[in-house]
Subunit: 367 residues, 2 copies
């Protein structure tokens, strides 16, 4: 674990770089806006820890009405349960006896669940639950258009659900119906059409489950790009958005982008201005992953981040801008999730002052 | 820090995933090949820790003749010095008093140096060295074609060198002349032309320094894609290759690719086969960064990694291949450096057995 890059009370220009900066005013406004948006709907927030990796942030979300958290990995579930979060759903398949045993062991301190898309996974989860002497909640993941994981909606899902319900060691928890590939569709119409299809797939599957006598407590899915539609559907019961707390450059490229504020930044230092027309910052793709494009330079229209190597970010200097060696810049990450996972600490700032440091407790929790 | 994913003696199929696997036979062969290639030249290896992040591996390189290590970051230099490496050069500018003070503090246990490309950086390094009561070795970085950091070769470099030499707190160490953008030029002819120009820039600068009475102990640069040319030049004295120990998919795409073996893999588990024609592994771009393209599936010609999300890798299944849920696959990273930096542990394997676990001591050392 790396040492903290700042101390409470510091001015933001004193923070060592690269650092993960959280603008607390914007962040809190985002949490409030999500709570207000969901309040009139039947859906509840189960915020996604894959984005923030922090039980501290999870607790702030739950204080505003989130009913629990979801994660993608057993190691993330551990970080949350150890950090006091009482209800954690792995919105993902968990494969391998070692991982399942770790998950079942958590059931002594939290309500934990997982997803399956294969009969053998049901049997493996039941075996792990039996060995631990605990019951695990199991959801059936259905493929609602992402083409990644999940059985087909309808009869295949019902068959798996019946297998779960038949096990004395498992609780059938419902269906996982996340349309991930729709989140970043730029056109609002095309985005709405993709989610409309996912809602219909889910509705049909819930009906067929009911015809088999199975209640479906959870219909889970949705992300920051589409959650209002799932929440209003009357079908989805749990909203799994994560990025809304931070935002990033890629979500901001959606037309009718979600109305959340950019709260997450990578603070970087200009470390070279020797090459004319170029400023180099100390944050390359190790510090700001580029899977969803280069970061933006916040509040500096004359500066464009145009190239990332391991430890260097190359910025083209335009329009008479003159960044000096030692200047600190705020970068808006292309993609918030992998960016957070590069850091051991959040530096929480209120205006220009460091207010708090929070550990990224599930940093690197990939298992 | 995440718990180790394996224990010595395990069969490789028992290793928890995703895990960073090091094939020790291939790795040792790579270290031997580099030592043998440089032996007949005047150049010495100063291997780059930005790739491996490990004092354990640094010591293995030094046991085969490396004269020290280079790094990009002060936090990496700390990990090396604390791990017993006696000679560490930061092949990069170090900007900010906090970073310089940390570096100067290391001078009590190791010989440390850094690069500059600006007069103010010289003065700041001198102030930090004076405050610590130690002398720092300072190199002038010249831009030999990368267009990133570094002053122009020739008079600009000489002026900075004279400024360093004039300080009682600094030692002029030489020039840093790394042509990074040439490393991945696919055509051997174009690659050789780019390095030829860098060699001429360096030779000219050394001559002009000598005319000013300045000896140039280090001419440093070169990477895995080009090092044989710099080593044979009679100009470069130190070779800063790093990737050669591991290799990756991107270096393998060079024509006349370097003759090193792939020793580094990400071990991943197939976690879903529910969607026809697709196998999903538990290693997405958080586990295998995609800045230099998707990973390859090692030894499985019917499988192609075609899409990465945060925690999922999507593999197209062709030619009758039938990966099963729970199967473990070795992925060849697109780019070894950022991949290593995602993990807390190397799992060293000899054949199919886990032989050792080594910490990635400088994981996340971005400051």
């Amino acid at each position: 674990m790396q040492p903290p890059p700042a101390e409470p009370g510091m001015h933001v220009t004193e923070v060592d770089t690269p650092a993960l900066l959280l603008d607390l005013d914007a962040f809190e406004a985002n949490l409030d806006l999500m709570a207000a948006t969901l309040a009139p709907t039947a859906a509840k927030l189960r915020a996604h820890t894959k984005t923030h990796k922090s039980p501290v942030i999870a607790r702030l979300q739950m204080a505003r009405g989130a009913i629990g958290q979801c994660v993608q990995k057993v190691a993330e579930a551990e970080a949350l349960a150890w950090g006091g979060i009482p209800d954690v759903l792995i919105t993902n398949e968990v494969v391998g006896p070692r991982k399942l045993a770790r998950l079942a062991a958590l059931a002594t301190i939290a309500r934990v669940g997982l997803c399956v898309d294969d009969a053998a996974q049901v049997d493996a989860a039941a075996a792990a639950a039996e060995a631990a002497g605990r019951r695990l909640t199991v959801l059936v993941e259905i493929d609602v258009g992402g083409g990644r994981c999940g059985v087909r909606p309808g009869p295949d899902a019902v068959a798996l659900a019946l297998r779960i319900a038949a096990s004395p060691h498992l609780i059938f928890g419902g269906i996982q119906a996340y349309q991930g590939s729709a989140q970043h569709i730029r056109s609002p119409e095309a985005r709405a059409a993709a989610i409309g299809a996912a809602i219909e797939d889910s509705r049909r599957t819930v009906e067929q489950l009911r015809q088999q006598g199975l209640d479906c407590p959870i219909v889970g899915g949705a992300g920051t790009g589409t959650f209002a539609q799932e929440a209003a559907s009357g079908v989805y019961t749990e909203i799994q958005a994560g990025s809304y707390a931070f935002m990033d450059a890629d979500y901001a490229r959606n037309q009718d982008a979600p109305a959340f504020r950019q709260s997450l930044f990578v603070l970087a230092t200009v470390m070279s201005t020797a090459v004319p027309g170029v400023a180099v910052v100390d944050a390359g793709h190790k510090a700001v992953p580029t899977d969803s494009g280069y970061p933006l330079v916040h509040g500096m229209p004359g500066l464009e981040y145009v190239g990332a190597s391991d430890e260097h970010g190359k910025i083209m200097v335009r329009e008479g801008a003159r960044p000096g060696c030692g200047d600190k810049l705020r970068l808006v990450p292309g993609h918030c999730d992998p960016t957070v996972d590069r850091y051991d600490w959040y530096v929480g700032v209120r205006g220009d002052r460091v207010e708090c440091l929070w550990p990224v407790a599930a940093r690197g929790a990939m298992a």
